[in-house]
Symmetry: C2
Subunit: 275 residues, 2 copies
């Protein structure tokens, strides 16, 4: 299997439309059809079921889509890291608006290390995992169980309990503490995008970063359950109420396996030092 075939297949599997996929790939539709057919023939499995009106994934296709995305990410990562191995620098991915105080401490402590290299910050709206997988970042701060750590090496940094973030006008805002049962069915519970950028159907506003979320909450349009850190610098008009039985959130530092970089190892060691 060549990466070209994988790129083509992933494009079709995501678009579920040969024409659009060919467009996205910058090639014509016939060679795309042919390449997919060849791939299916060589694998001996149907990846797509096509009528002339609709394309859909078979079970095998769904599997290959998941694995293919991961492989293409790994290839992109390998390429990027190989290219930049001579100019040692470190890209740290973190959530914008997240635990900035932890981040500041970490960057300061690392900068004081002997042999520290320049650290670039990649602030993501959400899903700090993706840039790690495709090589845009070398290390990431992420939050279990919100972020999946599949396929990454991880060290936990700290664990926090969660709070419901509500407008002060909300009926539950006065409570001393809440339970998940109180909030889980709230129609205003905000929805975050899936890793692929789409939203699961359901009630609640769609948000994609913290600023937006806080605004929505302040406007009374949303509520959310979040780890403790976000309480620092909470907007006027928002209340944080502990949710006693919410799953604990663990802030972890994560990096791709096979990372041989001394800089990554140093940064991780420093981070573990004050966990």
């Amino acid at each position: 299997m060549e990466t070209r075939e994988l790129r083509y297949f992933v494009a079709v599997a995501e678009e579920l439309h040969f024409g659009r996929a060919a467009d996205r790939l910058g090639i014509a539709q016939p060679p795309l059809s042919r390449t997919i057919a060849q791939l299916e023939h060589r694998l001996g499995v149907a990846l797509l079921t096509r009528t002339s009106r609709k394309v859909s994934l078979t079970e095998a296709g769904a599997l290959l889509l998941a694995e293919g995305r991961a492989i293409l990410g790994a290839v992109a990562a390998a390429e990027r890291r190989t290219r930049t191995v001579d100019r040692p620098s470190l890209v740290l991915a973190a959530k914008a608006g997240g635990s900035s105080e932890l981040l500041a401490k970490l960057l300061d402590a690392y900068a004081a290390e002997p042999g520290a290299v320049a650290v670039d910050l990649l602030l993501c709206e959400a899903h700090t995992r993706q840039p790690l997988l495709d090589g845009r970042a070398d290390v990431a701060i992420l939050h279990e169980p919100y972020d999946s750590t599949a396929g990454l090496d991880v060290e936990p940094l700290r664990t926090e309990s969660q709070f419901a973030i509500l407008p002060t006008s909300h009926p539950l805002a006065g409570a001393a503490r809440l339970r998940m049962a109180d909030v889980i069915d709230l129609p205003e519970l905000a929805r975050w995008p899936e890793p692929d950028g789409t939203y699961l159907p359901g009630p609640g506003v769609e948000v994609h970063n913290l600023t937006q979320l806080f605004q929505m909450i302040a406007l009374g349009r949303a509520v959310a359950v979040m780890p403790e850190v976000v309480r620092t610098g909470l907007l006027e008009g928002l209340a944080a109420v502990p949710v006693v039985d919410a799953p604990k959130v663990t802030t972890v530092i994560a990096w791709p396996p096979h990372s041989r970089s001394r800089a990554v190892a140093d940064l991780v060691r420093v981070a573990m030092g004050f966990s």
Copy 2:
């Protein structure tokens, strides 16, 4: 980057010899040289330094070798899993001679599950991780910290302390307990192969499976430090002495990320049930 280029590069990087690599790949040497040169040109980095007598890896080359191996493994795995998605079956990799009683319990318990599929056992001499990475197995039992779990999803099953395995004739065999300092410098300490199958230089016999190791110990040619499990069914003439400060060994069940198979999920759940 195409997988063809990666295959070619990995071959050269492993052989450190264009002629032999071309041989192994079943192509002639000139196109191989050309492909590597093109790859280097496109990446903008030298991967290999070559004199007409010696080929060696640059830092970038070493990085790409590690990443390339992982990618090629992932591609092989994706291919194999996609091909066999229609015939549900499960391949479980485990160390031959290892914790057979845990294994038996696990297989029995899983077989009793509703919707259980046939489980094939892949018994490895060592390094159960590799078959997982290249798709020959779907799940593996491995032992931290001996086996690296980088890039895998993992659930711990149980933790054990370690024992020195000695011939009864050995001066230390009579001790009630030992410390790592007592054994770490023993010239008879057996050496296991690295993941690539080579041995690090040093004293001590080279072994590649448990049977062989035990024979060597019985013959007075080797000693080893191993987790508790191997005590069951220890040969006549061998002694197991606890090493109090040896790192604990954790038996874990591991599977590749993106594994969507229900069978894998069931097996893991069963395994966690009696951890």
